[in-house]
Amino acid sequence: MTTPEPPELLLNYLAEMQIYRFSPAWAKLDADCSCIIESAGDWCRYIDDNAVEPGAVLEDTFPHLCGQSFEENFVLPQMELRDGYFTDIHGFHSGGIPWLLFLDVTEQTKQEQLQQQNANELSLLRDQQRRVLDRYVGGAVTERSIGGRLTFDAKGERRNISTMFIDLRSFTIFNQKYDPQHVMDVLNQYMDKMLPPILNEFGLVDKITGDGAMTVFGVLNEQEDSAHSALRAALRIQRDISTMNDMRCTQGDYVMEVGVGIGSGEAVIGILGARDRRAFTVIGPHVNLAARLEGKAKGGEILVDKTTFQAVEHLIDSYDCVDMDLKGIGATQVYNLRY
């Protein structure tokens, strides 16, 4: 069944509606498309200064069309020829004669622009969040987090992990002695040396405490032995800080060393908090132990517990084993690793 042709009255009504909607303006061109032969329509809507009159040179009247080929029909959509006004420009041949047709699409384009703006801003925000996450927790966490593969629930999850605390020695004196802005700048220089080795070993920077940090290994990369990763990160930190300190020393700058404490064992990792404020958390006896070891470590030292030591013993050249009385824990065997 074919649809019957609408009556002429209806066709005229529809045509008028469209013509009203688009405010067309058109120009008939000469055979080589360099001059205007005839023109009509609402041209003042589209161009400011030039009259679109018979005999006018096309490139003078429409300079934005320079370089445009008229060999084939074309459509240039959403051309903003005047600020805030959008035009679809059609170039076509009808009966062997070239024509230019300008249609006002401002209203539709502005509606589309709102959606486009929102979509782009959302995308930029996502990018920005990824960069911030990347900067603070490293690419590995960011990828897993954005991909939805880093999920823990409130119940938590048991895993064997290593926790490492690092802290700048002599920071308190430095903080009291210098201008806060200078302290912030220098702290950032030290953080630039301390955090990348952790992120490179798939460590998670749980907390930055101003002059130190709590980091966890074995959460992001379960295949790798967490104690090995923690040790590699600790060694890299000590070496990089030592190199930086040598340079600072020769420049007469204030120097700070880093104390490191590592503990390993089973822990529950999960999300702790109330509805509006949640944080990643690690709970286990070795976490407290690692914090105590870091507290005892002198600048340049790496102190580890027995579990960590047994896991990395084959990787180290020498060590000292001492008994220490650790606050809240009691007498503990502690290993001071030489590197």
């Binding site: 490139e59 320079c66 370089g67 080929s69 240039l76 782009n120 960069r131």
Partner: protein, 167 residues
């Protein structure tokens, strides 16, 4: 006697790399940090006098390339030169620039172009590594580190491109 040339020059790149801001800085000498997404093409013009040649650049500030909204080939055709804009703080914008460059080669062939590594004023937030920059330069592309915000190298990049158009 001075020669006058009128040339279509496209600015191409991913969305929010700073194309509109670069044109605004070059043409009007102003900068706004408010982001307003470009729809279709925004046309501007600027004349440069290079020795005895006056180059009228018709600047086609084309909307950002996106996976769901590609730049139409009709915008590219007829270009005498183009600028590829990369946002140094978003490494993914390099891929968009490469793709647009490849499409321009198909549509307009071997015409002059320059690469603007924009937002150099935000160097602390740059994602492009030295290796990325070396890879871009290895392609033999003319690169300028620009900032629409401070104006750094903006005029220089456009003047360089105009010079290549008349040489």
């Amino acid at each position: 006697m001075s020669r006058v040339l009128q040339k279509k020059v496209c600015l191409l790149g991913a969305f929010a790399v700073g194309k509109t801001s670069l044109v605004s800085r070059f043409v009007k000498g102003i900068f706004s940090d408010k982001y307003l997404s470009t729809m279709g093409v925004k046309i501007d013009r600027k004349s440069l006098q290079l020795d005895d040649v006056s180059v009228n650049m018709m600047l086609w500030d084309v909307h950002g390339e996106e996976s769901v909204k590609k730049v139409p080939a009709a915008y590219m055709r007829g270009s005498a030169a183009y600028l590829l804009v990369i946002d140094g703080t978003r490494s993914a914008t390099v891929d968009a620039a490469r793709e647009l460059h490849a499409r321009m080669q198909v549509e307009v062939g071997d015409v002059p172009f320059v690469v603007l590594l924009n937002k150099v004023d935000l160097k602390d937030e740059w994602e492009l590594s030295d290796a990325d920059l070396a890879a871009i330069r290895e392609e033999g592309w003319d690169c300028f580190m620009t900032s629409a915000c401070t104006g750094e190298n903006v005029e220089a990049a456009f003047v360089h491109l105009a010079g290549r158009m008349i040489s």
